[in-house]
Point group: C2
Chain length 329, copies 2
Amino acid sequence: MVKLNTNENPYPPSPRILELCRNMDWGQLRLYPDPAAKVLTDALAAYHGLLPEQVFAGVGSDDVLAMAFLTFFHSSAPILFPDITYSFYPVWADLFQIPYERPRLAEDFSIVPSDYFGVNGGIIFPNPNAPTGCAMGLEQIREIMDHNRDVVVIVDEAYVDFGAVSALPLLKEYDNLLIVRTYSKSRSMAGMRIGYALGNPRLIGYLNDVKYSFNSYTLNLPSIYLGAEVLKDETYFQETLRKIVETREWVQRELRALGFIFRDSSTNFIFARHRSCPALKLFHALRKKHIYVRHFDQDRIREYLRITVGTREEMETLIDFLKQFLDAD
Amino acid sequence: MVKLNTNENPYPPSPRILELCRNMDWGQLRLYPDPAAKVLTDALAAYHGLLPEQVFAGVGSDDVLAMAFLTFFHSSAPILFPDITYSFYPVWADLFQIPYERPRLAEDFSIVPSDYFGVNGGIIFPNPNAPTGCAMGLEQIREIMDHNRDVVVIVDEAYVDFGAVSALPLLKEYDNLLIVRTYSKSRSMAGMRIGYALGNPRLIGYLNDVKYSFNSYTLNLPSIYLGAEVLKDETYFQETLRKIVETREWVQRELRALGFIFRDSSTNFIFARHRSCPALKLFHALRKKHIYVRHFDQDRIREYLRITVGTREEMETLIDFLKQFLDAD
């Protein structure tokens, strides 16, 4: 089986994790974890050069994002997010009865900053966007921030480490900016469920207030300790990123040679259509060979497949199959 | 420091946990965990003699309870829970705008079943109740169930393993009964954040629907595997319970001899007042000696302290101090 459908990291987390797991005092499990997850939020603050009170941690970025929707999106004006983006945004908006509008991405799947200048109740977009894989530059994000001083703007940076520019430098300038990150992609720890938000201490304080009104203890002991530990191994982290980016560049060349059309990816996945072969035909043919990719049955992107960048070996299996299949087709 | 304020288990979890942690394939962390946590829910179903579809798992019983409030309590009629009970019930009710009424416990802190016979939008109570430590018998729970066939009745069995009778046998008779359990007390795994609900497959299905609308992946990989593993060591579990109950019986005798007044506990804590010394005076004197117990600044129970049953050594430290202090007082 080649699993290229959920954008997981093909490499295990830093070996420091295994070391820590073997040596951790698991007897401590009898005690409640620190509700503030201070070991983790302190480590994240130091890693990003921020204050500990600028960091909020949750059970994966889904938990952090859902809480941010609940905490910050209250206006009768609609919140704004792209028509093609992370599928959970409309789910949470519906759940919390938050009105929303979805500005249309440009034909090349770019986010158009001026679409976000009107009256709104808040803004959220991923950078790079998913499932398109396209990144915005810092100047465009700044444009959006400059036109939105009175609402919370959330930049979901789930995939930022794979090649986009982070909005982190803007935190000093904009107290209404919230950046959300996850350990599930670049950090190779999807199984651990760790996500976090970075922002002004006031925003982080509000998130904590809402969190404590549901459940004081969300992150468990292993999440807190392993999440902090993995930040210490920058060399391994950068090496993992380098390998994924290298594989991605190779796969992009191969896919283009095979007639696939797509914009360069800034993520660990490629969002591509084929110039002649229908997406669903490819999807089913791949599945038959136990190669799993993602298809979205959604307007504008029905002809696309989202293909996670796995190991070089996995991607060779994919490319070899596509060569044969498209040749025979 | 002697920490007797959060009802944690003084004993570490089964040594099988340490074994599993040392041998687990932590490289798996790169993958998302099973959103259904099937390894855990299957193990719990087998342990309790139920079907897997009768089990819902969450991030501690707080997560499970909050989701149950959101899922099942929608009526304009008030939900009912005791005036003295777990402090998070009114918090969730307020958060989700659920109307509620709080029938008064009897003077001896018993729950009066007939208080729960009127029109209501649902019922929740812990058995044994917290912080009172008093348990209800199965016949009284049955009475409440018989008068409430059209609303969901939640029995929060966080402390049931320490000496109360579980409502589990009633699941066969009542499809509107939901039982909630936690790994944080008897299972010595507060640090792991595992809670679960047992009930009719239809109720469990509704809980899953709500869960998936927030966050598909709530339980992380270690929670799923360690949570299942610990169920295999019944001998260690029973031995831990036996030690806690034995210590509790000893402490109860000692406290009574010192002039404390309380009903026999069915939990791992004792909820007691002193016949002459004010609770806050004791609370502060204990804190000065780094012995931490819990005080509730709440009507009817201001003169009480909630004292967790720790190890025999910890409880001897407590009793020795109280002897001296009350003697000098």
